[in-house]
Subunit: 240 residues, 2 copies
DNA sequence: TAGTGGTCTAGACCACGGG
DNA sequence: CCGTGGTCTAGACCACTAT
């Protein structure tokens, strides 16, 4: 009766739930079957179910509340890297005003494989969004974003004139993973004008490509005036 | 028989071992008592001990091997951020040559609270090390480091003329945590000359302050030519 | 081969908190 | 109240591997 399929019982339960979360079948806030229900489903003891759910909670994928049950957590990326990039939240914390201003919006077929090489079917349509993040009227970042419309078709009908697409996308696409590249550069004339800095001044640039199960959702480049922005990260041996 | 001290049994075991690792009483590679030994020490069942050790392993603090036992793991920071910064490893992987060249070495009392504000007792002596990281003869980074000699007294007698201090320090000080700040800037004349780039070119700068239990070990600034270096990070909801 | 971790059980009592 | 998770037990068998 013991599992012998090269993968242990609790690992199978863990993997099943993880997959359902990653694919979006279970979305943030959704309830996960209780331990007793999972005992019946998998035909194992409560300890084994508990081990899987405890590990999922430790990994930040679910949250468990007594009497209420277990629920899919919000993606951790929203709580770490995004916190650095969520200007609205930053501004609110500091008691300052935040505004997003859309500069350009267009839909075009994806022709040139710009930026990093990522596998996209030919003919894919992409929504290009350029905008400025301003705090107290000062431009903190120029955002140049591409949204793959086959991955997020709802974006086609969404108005981004005052709503930053970052948060909107996080609500639309559950549980993604992302590659971040941080680099530096110099402001050309056009960028300098948009950011309100001198031509030739230093820029801090964050490129992020967000995927969901090998499917690219969005690519974004956030261009910050080096004088106004830094990335701060805390690392310890336990949580990376 | 049951723990009632507001903290559960496995949490106490977890915390005890964690503390011994963080304080350096247990160092990377050291063996942790076996589950049976810990059962006797704490007077609890093997499942409870196992829960604590499994959690420590999941957190990356220990590694468990059948028949051999459980051992203190190498700090994760060495496996993530350091991998990006360990030029010797990067060069070896790419089949290219690596060299570290010491530019300056001096010991001085810590007077000005340079860089970030960190609490250091007055009169603390600090070892200043400036050096260049070169790959195939090209300068990839200028490193400016401060080592707190009361935290790492052995550094006073160590020769850093060809050995990069980063790896050496990792071996000396087990299990630290660190704050990273990534920024951008422009090369002044002196920096440009050392890096072999034009004055006014873009720089990518990483500042890292490494601590151990609230005691600062070392501060380092790695200054990269923006054209030669980027930071790449992979994030997913599970591992942050 | 023997010691170690990996897994699992079939219960139990307790703490919390929503209804 | 009572369903949920949190914790714990006293075993058991198995898999791996250092010796």
């Amino acid at each position: 009766m013991s599992g012998q399929a090269a993968v242990s019982f609790h690992q199978r339960i863990y993997g099943d739930i993880e997959r359902r979360v990653l694919t979006g079948e279970l979305r943030p806030g959704d309830r996960i079957p209780s331990e007793h229900e999972l005992m019946a489903v998998y035909g194992c003891s409560r300890m084994t179910v508990s081990k899987a759910l405890t590990a999922l909670a430790a990994a930040g994928m679910i949250e468990r509340r007594r009497r209420a049950g277990s629920f899919v957590a919000r993606p951790r990326i929203e709580r770490t890297v995004m916190e650095i990039q969520d200007f609205a939240v930053e501004a609110a914390r500091a008691g300052r005003s935040y505004a997003y201003r859309l500069l350009a919006r267009r839909i075009e077929p994806l022709a040139e494989p710009e930026g990093s090489a990522f596998p996209v079917p030919a003919g894919t349509e992409v929504l290009r969004l350029d905008g400025l993040h301003q705090i107290d009227g000062v431009v903190m970042a120029l955002e140049r974003r591409s949204v793959m419309l086959d991955a997020v078709p709802h974006a086609r009908d969404t108005d981004f004139t005052t709503t930053a697409p970052g948060r909107w996308l996080l609500q639309q696409v559950p549980w993604s993973d992302a590659v971040h590249v941080i680099s530096a550069g110099l402001a050309d004339a056009a960028t300098a004008r948009l950011l309100g800095v001198d031509k030739g001044s230093a820029l801090l640039i964050l490129d992020r490509e967000t995927r969901q199960t090998a499917l690219t959702i969005t690519q974004v480049r956030l261009i910050h005036p080096a004088a106004l922005y830094r990335f701060v990260g805390h690392f310890n041996p336990g949580n990376g």
